[in-house]
């Protein structure tokens, strides 16, 4: 990859993060209005939560009607684990946090979508593009909108078999992505993910013996999730994902169910 491409990526990142920071308008100070009884209870609950998480809330930070943790009616908004940035203080404040670690584990179906031409020398060829992928993603949820994390997993991308002079040949190709992932919540419960990094590509040939091969292919991914909260620290997400291992021209589309677990808070 040429230097100017890396420079362009860095430029994009810096610009994007700057715009993102500017985009977070600070709530204008307003006079504290009398809180309803239900809201007072909510404030107490919230304070207890923060004490449990070890986060020290400043006494001067009185909740305001515009606090995004509440509905317009003053009720505590029920949020998915994927939407927790919404209830956090603005990152421009001097005190930072809370920070969280979210773990995503997914299982579903994948379809190998890149062109696949099995060798012309084979007869009675059969191809299989579907598989059951597994993925694991760990995201650091900052007090900013953009989250950072890593993703890995296992996708059996495709396989084919056929005969050559009456002898069966069987080829299976799989990948393990090792990706740096960035994500943002878009609207309530929806989040987008993008990542880049190497894919470890594995092949297994059964013909004239058994031969395994491995190579690394630089690539990227994009994904979108909708998360339905199941509890305070657990949610279930529907996830659509595209893996693209560019150097080896491998790509697959994945639809999977993902369990979201808020593992740590500090």
């Amino acid at each position: 990859m040429s230097t100017w491409r890396v420079g362009l990526l860095a430029c994009y990142l810096v610009t994007g993060l700057t715009i993102n920071a500017v985009a977070q308008d600070i709530a204008p100070p307003k006079s504290t209005t009398a809180a309803t009884p239900s809201r007072q209870q909510a404030i107490k609950n919230r304070a207890r939560l923060r004490q449990r998480s070890g986060y020290k809330r400043l006494q001067s930070q009185a909740p305001t009607p515009r606090s995004p943790g509440f509905t317009k009616a003053g009720q505590l908004r029920r949020l998915s684990p994927d939407q927790l940035w919404d209830v956090q203080p603005d990152s421009t404040r001097p005190n930072r946090g809370p920070f969280r670690l979210l773990v995503y584990t997914g299982l579903g179906a994948s379809y190998y979508s890149a062109p696949l031409n099995s060798p012309v020398a084979l007869e009675n060829k059969q191809q299989l593009r579907w598989s059951i992928p597994f993925s694991l993603r760990v995201m650091w949820q900052t007090d900013h909108r953009m989250r950072l994390g890593i993703e890995t997993g296992y996708v059996s991308m495709y396989s084919y078999k056929g005969t050559r002079n009456g002898e069966l040949a069987n080829v299976r190709v799989s990948t393990t992505p090792i990706l740096a992932v960035f994500s943002m919540s878009v609207v309530k419960r929806f989040a987008l993910y993008a990542g880049t990094g190497p894919y470890r590509i594995n092949s297994n040939l059964e013909y004239d013996g058994n031969t395994r091969g491995t190579t690394y292919s630089l690539g990227w991914m994009v994904a979108g999730t909708y998360t339905q909260p199941l509890g305070r620290n657990i949610g279930l997400a529907a996830e659509l994902k595209w893996y693209d291992a560019t150097q080896t021209k491998d790509a697959c589309f994945i639809a999977q169910a993902t369990l979201v677990w808020r593992a740590l808070t500090w």
């Binding site: 990859m1 040429s2 990142l13 977070q24 062109p115 099995s118 013909y207 091969g213 630089l218």
Partner: protein
Amino acid sequence: MRSVPVRFLPLLMLVASAAYIGEGCRTKYEEAVVIPQNLNAGLNVAGAKLLFSQTRKACEGVYSVSDGADVFGSEIAGKWSYVVKNGTDTTYHFSLFCEPRATYFVLEGRQVADSIIFIGYWRRLVNADVGTARFVVQRASGAKALLAPDCCQDLKPGDVVLNGLYGNGEGERKYPLTLSFNRKLNPTPFQIIAHRSGGRTSDLLPASENSVEIIRLAPELGATGVEFDIRQTKDGVPILYHDDQLNLRQTQKSGLIGPVENYTYKQLSSLVRLVNGEQIPTLEEGLTAVIDDTPLQTVWMDSKLIQDMPLIREIQKKYIAKAAAQGRKVSIYIGLPTETTLNQFEALDDHLTTPSLCELDTSIARRINAQVWAPRFTLGDPVESAKVMRAAGLKVFVWTLDVPDFIRQFIDKGSLDGILTNYSPVVAYYHYVQKP
């Protein structure tokens, strides 16, 4: 400011960047240049005859360009070659080598009535420009002399004129190109050695690098020799393959990846095809193509990863004998690029009498009694060392030289016996137009 599009922006930029970078890494080797086909239709007319060998020989020379000099340069070198297909079908090609942008023509010729017609294609190796061309030598423009039974001892400048038209792509030939015989080719012996058995896949040639098909194509590109990249499969079969991995730069997608040495020859021959669909050839298939199908004179067997040097030596001996039996003078050298291969080579009982090409320093080349010393041109000007080595009876080839200015400088100095290059037409042009 908190609108959804603004929220999206950083992530969208990230996605776009990741996709752009990823796409930038995608290989482009599938974008082959389509060489115009069915050109023979213009030659296979009633009464057309193949050219006599003396006529072909007389056509060879340096031509001055009048019409078309702005595109193809002021001089063009014309040289014949041949390729044998299916063991018996010999086709002769008249190649023209130009100075600008590694341009070359590949033409076939026929006698039609009292004229000579050439039809073929032209190509620039440095890009995807391609087109067709047609030349006529009329009776009054030299065909009478060329077709005479006693042709042609002493052509003078202007005795033969090729009046031609060329076109771009498959388009109509409408641009004039006129060539006028100026002088004979430079007769100094010189080896134009084509890298990777003829040319690189990345130069979008019609055959893949290190294939039998590119070996057969090499003479049309101006090569007088080829360099093979030799590796051995898991079961010890020497094959022609450059990289240490099966990859999409050289092969079609098959799902097989990893070191080529991990696979048996049966696996590779059954399941792996080179980018243009060819089978990975064995060393013996490559040498057979050189000796049986082409006029190539030199084979540089670059030992990329050899496990069994005695086997390579046996194959070398076998094909030197085969060439001699056919009356062919083909020099087949075992290339020694590393200390490892040098040690393997020195373990041979007869290494002092084995034709070898040493890429290491001059003292090693002398110690092993190499026939060729081949320094890398980027290590500095080899001219002084080359003089010493040539005085000691060794030939000197440099590798891998593709820059036209350097090629011209090395040829002008006259201190080399050959150049290994990815651009045979460029070396051919500078060598053949040089005045002795």
